[in-house]
């Protein structure tokens, strides 16, 4: 049974007849040039964007899952973290527990995991872009969802936090969760379990990174020349 099953989904002008499966325990990278439809795909997979076609979580059609239960099953992280009111960091992270009856379970652990404990009382609208992103990721972690759909979670983060988020993603998928994250860093995508390539709102390729990310495909989709060579490698100490 797939954690996420999208069949023949279309969103007018943005996605065309897209079919995709994400197995449980898989860490999947979603790549494609700007405007390829990555955010749209993540939103329709999360059930926050109406689309034609079918979306299933763990084999259950999305339309049959009550909204409250969806909040427990899936965590969607938007690309842009905009906050118009001055909620505290802790208040925003604890929203991840809304669908669990606001039990506050795991909120402090999620804050600690993203180095937010010291910022817990700060208003979110006075944080830097990277800090705001970490608040949203901590909220997603607090949901204890089985399916994570994160839209460019790494973009605003500093190198250390990028590595930490990747490490956390590994832990989550090892524990059985499935993750679909969009990203632009193809070198990071190369280290994941699977990559999905979108181009002009259509699925171009999906599979193991070594099979999919060929120089020919990268040249065609992104207009870049790719080769493997010794490079700067960053790891957590």
């Amino acid at each position: 049974m797939n954690a996420l099953d999208i069949s023949g989904a279309s969103v007018a002008g943005r996605l065309h007849d897209l079919t995709l499966q994400v197995p449980p325990g898989a860490l999947v990278g979603l790549i494609g040039p700007n405007g390829a439809g990555k955010s749209t795909l993540l939103q329709l997979a999360a059930g926050v964007l109406p689309a034609s076609g079918g979306v299933r979580w763990d084999g259950r059609p999305l339309s049959e899952i009550p909204v409250m239960e969806r909040g427990r099953l899936t965590a969607w992280v938007p690309q842009e973290a905009r906050f118009e009111f001055g909620f505290s960091v802790r208040a925003v992270v604890s929203q991840g527990r809304f669908a669990h009856g606001d039990d506050d379970h795991g909120v402090d652990a999620a804050l600690a995991r993203f180095d937010l404990t010291a910022l817990a009382r700060r208003p979110v609208n006075r944080l830097s872009g990277g800090e705001r992103q970490r608040v949203l990721l901590a909220r997603a972690l607090a949901t204890e969802a089985r399916l994570h759909l994160w839209d460019e979670p790494l973009a605003p983060l500093d190198p250390r936090h990028v590595l930490e988020v990747l490490q956390l993603s590994r832990e989550l998928t090892r524990a059985g969760a499935a993750m679909l994250i969009s990203l632009h860093d193809l070198r990071v995508a190369h280290c994941l379990d699977m990559v999905v390539v979108l181009q002009d709102g259509r699925l171009r390729a999906a599979g193991k990174p070594a099979d999919v990310l060929t120089p020919a495909l990268l040249a065609d989709v992104f207009g870049v020349r790719a080769r493997t060579a010794p490079s700067l490698i960053l790891e957590l100490p």
Partner: protein, 325 residues
């Protein structure tokens, strides 16, 4: 500015303030009553005090508290809905809709048939206005767009009211009744008016559990939905309750402006944006604010309530606009 200390004492302070203001409101007037006399009057031990309290001051106090709570809670909900702290029932035209509805049925001579005719007409008028403003200014619309939508609606609904005033063959009583609505006041409020406004308590109770989902909604619709909030249902409830609260308040006292703007705004500054905290404090604080405004009006030579709230609210609104710019 927001501190846990202020957050903790806010509700007790608001309740104490309301209690003290209520006692002052029962005590002052042509016949001044001490605490002991108020007690004797309420227990019917002092016949004169009992008449003054039960016939005049108590219904007036209860109506003031009910409409204060209603207007302020309505403003809080509209601000969360439009994600704009300048949204309020008066500025958006919801109050004007309620007034127009009431004026039409009074002018047509239907008000006498039942106690619920005027409130019902107010609710219908307010619903029409709310519907129009939601179409004119979508959620997250700019302040300019929101205020212009309100200006247009207020003008349009004002025209309806003027039309009724000028075209019906009005008796002296009906004309006086209509003028009463247009001025907004607590004069001669009776237990009938308390009864008319009493559904406000029910609407406020229904608002209570919406505080938490309103928090999530105010950070984004899609985010809220993905976290488990039934956004469409929540939005419908928010609009229905905000409209109902304003309409009921308007149907018993006419237009009382700016309460829904000032009270939620001040408490949001003091307590932060969390609605679970703001809903109860705005209900109590709104009641206290209107009782205080009524006291000011009574001690300043019987100024009507709507005049007092506008004299306080107008400058406050201009200050907010300046601060936003």
């Amino acid at each position: 500015m927001t501190s846990p200390w202020v957050q903790r004492i806010a509700l007790p302070v608001a309740l104490t303030a309301l209690l003290i203001l209520a006692l002052i409101s029962l005590s002052v007037g042509d016949l001044r009553l001490g605490l002991g006399q108020i007690w004797d009057g309420l227990c019917f031990n002092d016949q004169l005090a009992a008449t003054v309290l039960w016939k005049i001051r108590l219904p007036r106090l209860l109506v003031a508290m009910l409409i204060g709570a209603a207007l302020s809670a309505s403003g809080l909900v509209l601000q969360a809905y439009f994600r704009n702290s300048l949204a309020s029932p008066g500025l958006l035209g919801v109050s004007s809709g309620a007034v127009a509805g009431a004026v039409v049925v009074i002018g047509a001579g239907l008000a006498g048939y039942s106690l619920m005719v005027v409130p019902t007409a107010s609710v219908v008028g307010a619903l029409v206005a709310t519907f129009a403003v939601v179409i004119l200014a979508r959620r997250g619309a700019s302040t300019e767009r929101l205020l212009l939508a309100g200006v247009a609606l207020n003008a349009l609904l004002g025209a309806v009211t003027s039309y009724v005033l000028s075209s019906f063959t009005l008796t002296y009583e009906r004309n006086a009744q209509i003028m009463f609505w247009l001025l907004g006041g607590l004069e001669d409020r009776t237990w009938e008016h308390v009864a008319m406004a009493s559904p406000i308590v029910l609407a406020a109770a229904l608002l209570w559990p919406l505080g938490r989902p309103m928090d999530l909604l105010s950070l984004g619709e899609r985010e809220a939905q993905s976290l488990g909030v039934d956004v469409r249902r929540l939005r419908r409830w928010m609009l229905a309750l905000a409209t109902l609260l304003t309409a009921l308040a308007t149907s018993v006292t006419g237009t009382v402006g700016f309460v829904g703007l000032i009270v939620p705004h001040v408490f949001r500054l003091l307590l932060g944006p969390e609605h679970r905290r703001l809903v109860p404090v705005c209900l109590i604080g709104g009641a206290a604010f209107v009782v205080a405004c009524d006291l000011i009006g009574r001690s300043a030579g019987n100024l009507r309530l709507g005049i007092v709230t506008s004299l306080i609210g107008g400058p406050f609104f201009l200050w907010l606009l300046r601060r936003q710019a």
